[in-house]
Amino acid sequence: MSLLEVRALEVHYGGIRAVKGIDLDVEPGELVCLIGANGAGKSSMLRAICGLVHGVRGSVRYAGEEISGLAVHERPRRGLVMVPEGRGIFPQLTVAENLAIGAYARRDPDVRDDLERTYRLFARLAERRTQTGGTLSGGEQQMLAIGRALMSRPRLLLLDEPSMGLAPLMVAKILATVREIARQGVTILLVEQNAKLALEIASRGYVMESGAITLAADAASLLADPRVREAYLGEGAA
């Protein structure tokens, strides 16, 4: 059984159909990536999965349960967590408080251990734990956003363009961390503009164009696919 099963998903903004009937699956333990140009509807799809947009049609099943009718805050309690586009850290809360909010949906005693583990994963955050989120650099904010999501002990992590606006070195570092998180057993759906790096760490991938999935295959064949190479890897014929 798939952990996430999206069927015929549509997102409407007023009269605009931004997502036009998408099918997508994520199996437990997978790192799946979704690539596509600006405005393809990637964020709209993630936001629909999380219950953030109205005007959604179709079905979203998570761990066997239809979740499209649930309130937004019910998802993290079930282990489905998104790191939104633009990070969405709380600028006036300290690093430690941001991370504590990540564990908001939990009430078990292991939160402290997870906090230490998060600080080990992102040593920069440990140094800055009393600093407010808004004073962090872009890369540090992305670490904080991912660390905060990890604090909820996700089963399925949705990442919306974690490399956005970061320098190449930091992009590589963030994506390496994503792979590490996947290795530790968290299932991940990664949305990325940086198609090459994303496909290199993913096992499978989807390509989205103007609201529809146009290609779906394992990551290696997508990397080799001439259409992908031309459109997303900046290669091939002019």
Partner: protein, 328 residues
Amino acid sequence: MDIFLQQVINGLTLGAVYAVVALGYTMVYGIIQLINFAHGEVVMIGAMVALTVINALAKSGLSPVTVVLAGTGCAIPVCMLVGYAMERLAYRPLRRAPRLAPLITAIGVSIILQHLALLVWSRNVLAFPQIVDLRVFHVAGARISNVQLAIIVVCVAMMAGLAVLVYRTRLGAAMRATAQNPQVAGLMGIDIDRVIAATFAIGAALAAVAGVMVGTYYGVAQYTMGSILGLKAFSAAVLGGIGNVPGAMLGGVLMGVVEALGAGYIGSFTDLCRYGWLARLIGERCADGGHFVLFGSNYQDVFAFAVLILVLVLRPSGLLGERVGERA
């Protein structure tokens, strides 16, 4: 008698109450960017409920403190219910509407509450029974009463309690997170509807206690008492920086002191007989230590709004506020 010190003491008393009411405005604004114009009416309802209970128990033989506590104990849940109900029924359905809609609704809620109070408690000025015997202490040439002391102590305790709640508890963290980014707060598992409802209820509880204090301090209550008090507390919140919790506390206290000092000195400053050439012009009214006062202490309400206007002109973000300008 030292007028300055006396007015500072009176101002601190009043300011402490303003601060407590201002917190209600600022917390709600911080979390949903709504100026809840009906908040002053919650203070009024607190005073009215307490007055009813205190009147009923005045001759029961219970100690005055017990009676006042009983009045407060009834006012708090009633006001929390009112605060919760207005959020639930009036503001929540408009959460995604343009900002003007909830703002106008708030004015409507305020009018509705006033007129409900009019129906229940009549249009008369109602007197709080004098059950607490006033004791006055003399400090450095000024007087401070046991009621003033109690008001200051209770307000400081409530502000400290609120600060602990906002900055040290799980609910407080959820409130601050929701204020900064409600969507992401929801993504992190925070039920923002509950957090917003809790914010209204907490603000209303503070307002209830403020209502009891204002009622016992002035000895009267009327269904209209909430509007001017609410406006002053709102001005205090703007002075401190709307949305900012420490700012509301600071703004409230400053507002009280400014108002008391203003009321204390406006009479002598606008006594035209003080100014030689004007005194000569006026002539006999100024003879033998006479006065020609333009504005008496009944103009005290002017100061709060003069401060509001000055703040809006000179420093719209308030003393401790950071966010400037209008959010769309």
